[in-house]
Symmetry: C2
Amino acid sequence: MSVAIALTTIRPLERETLGDRVYGHLRELLMAGRLAPGDKLSLRGTAEVMGVSMMPVREAVSRLVADRALEVAPNRAVRVPIMTVSQFRELTTVRIEIEGFAAQRAATAASADDIARIATLESAFRALSLLVRPDLAEAVRLNKDLHFAIYEATGLPTLAEIIGALWLKAGPVLNLDLGANPDRLATGGAVRFHADALAAIRAGDGPAARAAIAADIRGAADFIIARGGLAAA
Amino acid sequence: MSVAIALTTIRPLERETLGDRVYGHLRELLMAGRLAPGDKLSLRGTAEVMGVSMMPVREAVSRLVADRALEVAPNRAVRVPIMTVSQFRELTTVRIEIEGFAAQRAATAASADDIARIATLESAFRALSLLVRPDLAEAVRLNKDLHFAIYEATGLPTLAEIIGALWLKAGPVLNLDLGANPDRLATGGAVRFHADALAAIRAGDGPAARAAIAADIRGAADFIIARGGLAAA
DNA sequence: AAACCATAACTGTGATCACAGATCACGGCA
DNA sequence: TGCCGTGATCTGTGATCACAGTTATGGTTT
């Protein structure tokens, strides 16, 4: 009997369909920058790679297309959107406002547990960034976890989901670039801005938290725009 | 030759698939409150009603589920999510912040054409609201067009899309309630708040525009919460 | 007349087939 | 040798079939 209870307890309240699994996988690839802007991907090809039929891939891709994380070209080719400089500027503007608001709100709404989790991730990211040859994939993951630990501390899950959609669009540009310029981890101000954000949240200082996150976003965006790797239009 | 040029000019750059069409149709139904929270809808049933096979409906529904505008219950039933009071409060908080920011930005970024369009819609909404027996569906449409005329005047299409997703969630609650309480059109402050917003945008006063839109959102939300028709939890 | 159980009719999910159109490579022509 | 046309191949989209599970229904029994 106890075994049966344990099983029913473990079973997730919503079972995960194959489409959900494929969606999660593609989402991770996009956020981590493993898929570069312009990369094409075929439904049948990815279906074969993932060992499923075309249907779950179709469902996952249609979701990502709806969120503008992927696009279907008029040629009927699914690819990661190629972002122009002005589109990237617009996305950065929206991110600074929305993520800035989230940080501000987190400063006054975060629980002690939230702050502890944020502090742990900040410490881990800082330690990793100062290594001579840091694991970039791990750095990307820690950076994401740190940011979303802050955003989820707002108590506004809708807001965190919106920001997730924004990161899905920005991921290919941001993290692909990071692979080409690993120095940004150390020379960029991310470590300092994260520390500022943590201190502001600890102090309950909303405006300071907003400023720190805004500076973090702006710093990375300016670096990428300066590199000039984005499309012209 | 001139005929060929004319044809290539007329042809839409992105052809619309059946899935897109079904998505647009369901989206309108949700935003207009024609689908109430808790309403179930079957893939085969709606497919037959719309005269297509199940596939386009599947794609459209999967998109709406991804955006939390629909949900699939563990029973494998697709339905409009039933919103609790706390969820509605959270959604309202996010809307006030994001739509408020958009209004603020529109006040400084709107072009003369943008302002003219906003003024036209404001006038039409006001005229309709003051009728003794206004067409509710038309009022909902005008209200939506007016708000999005403001949001699109920001020059930030990403922001307008985010707000569209928020309206998709709020639509069933807001506009279904409006059908039950048509008086809200006249007694609620919508007409006044819209006029305030237009005046602020004309004056380039960002904070005032933000305050007007925030008051508009809060007014409708408070009215609905006071009615007590939402789920308890 | 009320309760209960079996069966039939639905549900979404996944796989497979069909089709129009675009891409690409290969072979023939200039 | 360079260019163009043409067929094979691959693309996403739509339809249909199969399946496991839930819901509703109708008949039987107490």
